[in-house]
């Protein structure tokens, strides 16, 4: 997991005090794609840990695909100029309407998400090329990376007032 930013507490304080929000279209893309891809990687890794079996190449390929797709979405969210005309409608809307992440949120995002996704990509890619099985110690690292992302997105959701009162 990335070390906390030096100014992280100040950033979260500013988000709260200045009521910094994230545009709903950005939220939608962010949580839709990252939600699906990160959850899918987490499920594959957690399954391997629960069954005490290394990850076979078929699952490793899926993991790599999810991690790379998630990385591409993160790039497009933080660098809208990378959005292509054949991307989905919400991404094109982000580009054309120049919807951007607030600089404080972008700083957090840049610090936390790409790092963990890169670790997953490198770890899975290395084993796919080498032995085609991901050993349990590396699966544990991958699982930790997904949990870091989940934790960060949860914290961001709460900080930006997207936390809802729910009855359970």
């Amino acid at each position: 997991m990335a070390n906390p930013l030096n100014n992280e507490q100040q950033i979260y304080r500013r988000i709260k005090e200045e009521k910094i929000e994230v545009d709903p279209t950005l939220w939608d893309v962010m949580y839709h794609y990252l939600g699906d891809y990160v959850s899918s990687i987490n499920l594959l890794a957690a399954d391997s840990i629960e069954t005490n079996q290394p990850i076979p190449s078929e699952d490793a390929k899926k993991m790599l695909d999810y991690a790379m797709k998630a990385s591409r979405i993160v790039t497009k969210l933080t660098r809208p100029q990378k959005i292509q005309d054949d991307d989905e409608a919400n991404l094109i809307k982000i580009r054309d309407k120049k919807i951007t992440l607030h600089r404080d949120i972008q700083e957090l995002f840049d610090h936390y998400i790409p790092n963990d996704l890169n670790i997953i990509t490198m770890c899975v890619g290395y084993h796919l090329e080498d032995s085609n099985l991901i050993p349990l110690n590396d699966v544990q690292n991958i699982l930790s990376c997904t949990k870091n992302i989940i934790h960060f997105l949860d914290k961001l959701r709460i900080a930006t007032g997207q936390q809802r009162v729910i009855h359970d």
Binding site: Y31, D36, S40, N42, L44, D47, T146
Partner: protein, 136 residues
């Protein structure tokens, strides 16, 4: 788990979520059914009457809330867990009013959803035991 396994319907358009969740549930003795859209989910529900339904709120053809409503109309005892990314308060209120049992935020870790399913399964088994005893 006894002879007739509890049926769980997973409604999600991401195959990775469906396959991943299925593995954990099958290992725990559930019978898993899956649908990638609301229409198929309704057809499966009508035929199989799953006791637990994991519903992604954002489905392509049918809103997850509409699906929840239709499921509850067919069987008020059907247990529904709404799986969601960010949504508005209105959607939460509607889901709560319709009787959604739990919410799970995406992205999720196994510990965010599996204990909720197990808790529901436990309450279903207890309910069935009570019903069985009252019949005797």
């Amino acid at each position: 788990m006894d002879e007739s396994p509890i049926k769980v319907l997973i409604v999600d358009d991401e195959p990775g979520i469906v396959h991943g969740m299925s593995r954990f549930l099958i290992r725990r003795g559930f019978k898993v059914l899956a649908a990638s859209d609301g229409k198929t989910a309704l057809e499966i529900f009508e035929k199989e009457r799953p006791q637990i339904n994991l519903i992604d709120i954002y489905l392509g053809d049918l809103d997850g809330i509409e699906l929840l409503q239709k499921i509850k109309e067919m069987d008020k005892n059907a247990e529904c867990v709404m799986v969601t990314r960010i949504t508005d308060q209105d959607t939460f209120d509607k889901a709560a009013k319709l009787g959604a049992r739990h919410y799970v935020y995406k992205p999720f870790a196994t510990e965010d959803w599996l204990p909720k399913v197990m808790e529901i399964a436990d309450s279903i088994k207890k309910r069935e035991q009570r019903l069985g005893q009252s019949v005797k």
